[in-house]
């Protein structure tokens, strides 16, 4: 397969999440302009920062006239979960040249990690093809995010009520499609259940901290269950 074909695989694997992301991009653009921010500010943020949930949080903080250091440190906290993704991906990028890693780092969003990580796990991509498939997913997502931001800025609300349609459900269904193949042993079930319950209990924590804490709980529970399994001689 050629590089373009590998990139197309990555883009195709991301299609449901791209559809799910469209309302968020439109909403971001239209919120920015209804908050009286310059169109260029919203467009530059999507192009340069490229971080969905952190961008929404930033809009809220700007509306509250929060100081810049608060906006920046909150962004840091909202994006901390990406450190977990990066730690998990280190083994797949360490042989790649630095410019390639640079772009992969810039594009390490929830959706691209979600699309690519299982492909590495199942052998659908390898050391030679993984980054090309990754680029396809990243580029498709990047283009969608920036185009929808511009459309949202220009139109206020392009199609009235679009945010009520529930297109975001496509992302939920995709994530479920990614999670279920992992559920072949007890530690993964316990990981999922504990992360899910924690995320509901901690939902009121600000700045995605509930999400981060729930992810850590899920990882720890899975890990400990795994250790317990090994200790008891591999039963269960």
């Amino acid at each position: 397969m050629t590089r373009i074909e590998h990139m197309r695989r990555g883009a195709l694997a991301s299609v449901p999440m791209i559809v799910g992301g469209i309302p968020f991009g439109l909403l971001f653009g239209s919120l920015a302009s209804s908050n009286g921010l310059s169109p260029w500010f919203a467009i530059a943020m999507s192009a340069i920062v490229f971080a969905g949930s952190a961008q929404f949080v930033a809009l809220g903080l700007i509306a509250l006239h929060a100081p810049i250091w608060v906006i920046v440190s909150t962004t840091f906290i909202v994006n901390l979960r990406h450190l977990l993704y990066a730690a998990d991906m280190v083994k797949f990028v360490k042989h790649l040249p630095m410019p390639v890693r640079l772009i992969m780092g810039f594009g390490l969003v929830d959706e691209t990690y979600a699309a690519l990580r299982p492909m590495y796990g199942t052998g659908a991509v390898n050391d030679k093809t993984g980054h090309q498939v990754y680029f396809g997913s990243f580029l498709a997502f990047y283009v969608m995010w920036n185009v929808t931001t511009v459309l949202g800025v220009l139109s206020g609300e392009l199609i009235p009520g679009m945010s009520e349609w529930g297109l975001e459900f496509a992302m939920v269904a995709t994530f479920i499609g990614i999670i279920t193949p992992y559920l072949k042993s007890k530690p993964f079930w316990l990981c999922m259940i504990s992360a899910g319950v924690s995320s509901l209990v901690l939902v009121d924590l600000p700045n995605n901290l509930g999400l981060l804490a729930s992810a850590v709980v899920g990882v720890l529970v899975g890990f400990l269950a795994d250790q317990g399994k090994d200790a008891s001689g591999g039963v269960a």
Partner: protein, 109 residues
């Protein structure tokens, strides 16, 4: 908001966002993950993705919405069952999305 403030906000947000994503990649050839970390990291996809979607599925207006009239719950349940049963990603997504939109069409006035 002045132009310089706008620029500082975007540069600051870029630095922390890109920094978090890239710092480990930058050292990837030198980073040696201890085996127990690697064992823990294999739970990252399930843990993070579950933590992202669970509130979307179960909450409406910040309150638990455990009802068979909740399209998010019905769609997610359908996806989950198909996913466990068949492990075909496309089928899992399709069934969930179809159930979600049918439920939404019938249950939301």
């Amino acid at each position: 908001m002045s132009v310089s403030e706008s620029i500082f906000i975007i540069i600051g947000m870029f630095i922390v966002t890109f920094g978090v994503r890239f710092v480990l990649f930058a050292r990837a050839h030198k980073v040696v993950m201890p085996p127990f970390i690697e064992k823990a990291l294999k739970f990252v996809p399930v843990a993070v993705l579950t933590a992202i979607i669970t509130p979307m599925i179960f909450l409406q207006d910040q309150a638990l919405y455990l009802s068979l009239f909740n399209p998010w719950l019905l769609g997610a349940l359908a996806s989950f069952l198909v996913g466990i049963w068949r492990q075909q990603q496309l089928l899992t997504i399709l069934v969930g999305v179809v159930v979600f939109f049918i439920a939404k069409f019938f249950f939301s006035a």
